[in-house]
């Protein structure tokens, strides 16, 4: 990990090291794309998409499960990061709506929810998930305090919204983002309006939408 004495390069690495560092990213990116499209995709598909051999992958992760776990944990951290950025926003309503927008854009929900059940989580992930829940509750309560959030919406409705948006998917990634924004706009519009009929049925409970975390798939 020392700077070394080899020839310099744009990012401070050269030759094989540079290639290896590049592969680190390429593999993670490819894994994200592939496993988001199909959580049951084979490892070889990831290697092919990344343009590397299988060895390059197995040198970095002891097994498929570890790759999945890393991917999911990254997504969870991203969620927490966006949530923390959002709570710093002064306007409680914009904090919530922009948070939803960013999380949907980054496709973080599929990462954290649809991949669950394909690996056994670490204790640290449990703590991060708990933190994510707290932040979400804080966002909803601040949004409620502004008076713009409809009164019968609860924290767990965020889960419904994210789950719904994540389901919108077409082959083209950019188009997927556009359609999701349209769909999210529909949902946010309804979360804001307070005039219509009350939402039916018991609201979603804590953990009810995270059932995949509990079974080993």
């Amino acid at each position: 990990m020392s700077a070394g004495s080899e020839a310099p390069s744009p990012d401070g690495l050269a030759g094989r090291r540079r290639q290896a560092a590049h592969n680190d990213l390429a593999i993670l990116d490819a894994a994200r794309e592939v496993f988001l499209a199909d959580p049951k995709a084979p490892v070889s598909a990831v290697a092919k998409r990344a343009g590397v051999g299988i060895s390059a992958l197995y040198r970095r992760y002891p097994g498929k499960e570890d790759l999945l776990r890393t991917l999911c944990h990254d997504g969870l951290l991203r969620y927490v990061e966006e949530a923390e950025r959002a709570v710093a926003e002064p306007d409680g309503w914009l904090a919530l709506s922009r948070f939803l927008q960013r999380v949907v854009d980054a496709d973080v929900h599929s990462l954290t929810v649809h991949l669950a059940g394909t690996f056994t989580p670490t204790p640290e992930m449990g703590r991060d998930a708990e933190r994510a829940g707290e932040l979400a509750t804080a966002l909803v309560e601040r949004a409620r305090a502004t008076g713009r959030l409809r009164r019968d919406a609860v924290t767990q409705d965020i889960g419904l919204v994210l789950e719904g948006c994540a389901a919108i998917r077409v082959p083209d990634g950019e188009r997927t983002r556009q359609l999701r924004r349209r769909f999210l706009a529909l949902l946010i519009g309804s979360l804001e309006q307070d005039g219509g009929d009350p939402l039916p049925g018991p609201p979603p409970q804590a953990g009810e939408l995270n059932w995949r975390w509990r079974r080993q798939g």
Copy 2:
């Protein structure tokens, strides 16, 4: 198929024939449950859920693909049926909103969309799908004529709504229905309101959300 001379029974069949007729339904019901939960589920899972042996299933369908196709076609017919019932409704707005409610309740969308790509469709299915599209357009236009539908909503937004609702899923089937109704209420509320910001991005195009029908999965 004759009435036969065997002992009568509530539905006009007796003994083995009666059992077989019962299995017909049990297998279809089980297949619907199992493949809705996991489109890649093995055939043996269907047999187990139906409480029959694998033979009972292969006696009725030449192969897995035929079972999937039948299931999907049934769903499509159900969709068309509900749409036809809806266009008979005098109030154009209620026609659309109740149609959505019924289709979501029956989980028809998962059947027709998520199962596509697991089999090669028949020409008849193509015709029925076209008919379904026409009916959906008619429903949207009648809803628009009432003035209650937001002006920037298009027919294909129905696809977005159904796709989103179908994504809501928890292990318990009845609870799933409750949560979907809540989510659908959010969406319908926003489809009705016309005050807020316009929906962003190009609206979904015809066939854009049916891409699974085109590739062989």
